[in-house]
Point group: C2
Chain length 143, copies 2
């Protein structure tokens, strides 16, 4: 694993050393909530990530152990990415950002996940995480 340049021992700072940017958490969002698994799917997201930024962030997520990567069984030149436990443990952060962003961006469109979050946040986090762990385990069986 590529070492991260660490600014301090603070856990908040450590987190931001890895994913403190405008794009990395959006890729994780796509994998957590929209079931995206491949470069071409990430490229279709509405924020229009540039291909060089996407490749850079996917490489970081892979080298830092947030995703596993393997060739698609149908197309050996296509890679499929699966979230690891390290990334699944970031679901609460994504859910908090959804809750916060919905509250303060009045122009924001409601996300289907939001109703669940507002109703019972711990339950919503657990449901999303359970679904992702199931997918991860299935992906490991296919490996």
């Amino acid at each position: 694993m590529k070492p991260v340049i660490s600014r301090s021992d603070c856990p908040v700072s450590y987190s931001l050393d890895i994913f403190g940017d405008k794009w990395t958490l959006l890729i994780l969002r796509d994998m957590m909530l929209d079931e995206k698994t491949s470069y071409s799917e990430f490229m279709t997201s509405q924020e229009k990530i540039a291909s060089n930024i996407l490749i850079n962030r996917l490489n970081t997520l892979h080298s830092q152990g947030f995703v596993t990567k393997k060739a698609s069984p149908l197309n050996k030149s296509k890679f499929l990415y699966t979230l690891t436990e390290k990334a699944i443990d970031l679901v609460p952060v994504i859910v908090d950002l959804i809750e916060w962003g919905e509250k303060y961006n009045k122009k924001g469109q409601p996300k289907s996940v939001l109703d669940k979050v507002l109703k019972n946040k711990p339950k919503a986090v657990k449901e999303i995480q359970d679904g992702l762990r199931k997918k991860r385990d299935q992906s490991e069986l296919l490996a």
Copy 2:
């Protein structure tokens, strides 16, 4: 308020449009957990933020309504910053990052707040937020 360039209507993207970088959440951390209120105090943090970045991020936090800013009663050339409700609502994100960062950075030093978080996260979030709201209300009384 200065408009933010919005990449999409997604609440996660909206959040990162404002504070998706390596520094903004560290300034909020300093205000939330270490009771820092001024430029000179932020400059002493162990991550050694550059003064131009700090000024830029404080301006953004102010123009986006995350902090109020007023001259110190003791020194009119010194500004004191106080968190607004918009920022206090980000305490859950900071607490989640502490929890995640502690789990995955084994070199990290334990923070006093961590024990509380691991014991009862919703209670820890509420205690931090209540303390910050009290400080905000006191600051408004002095205005």
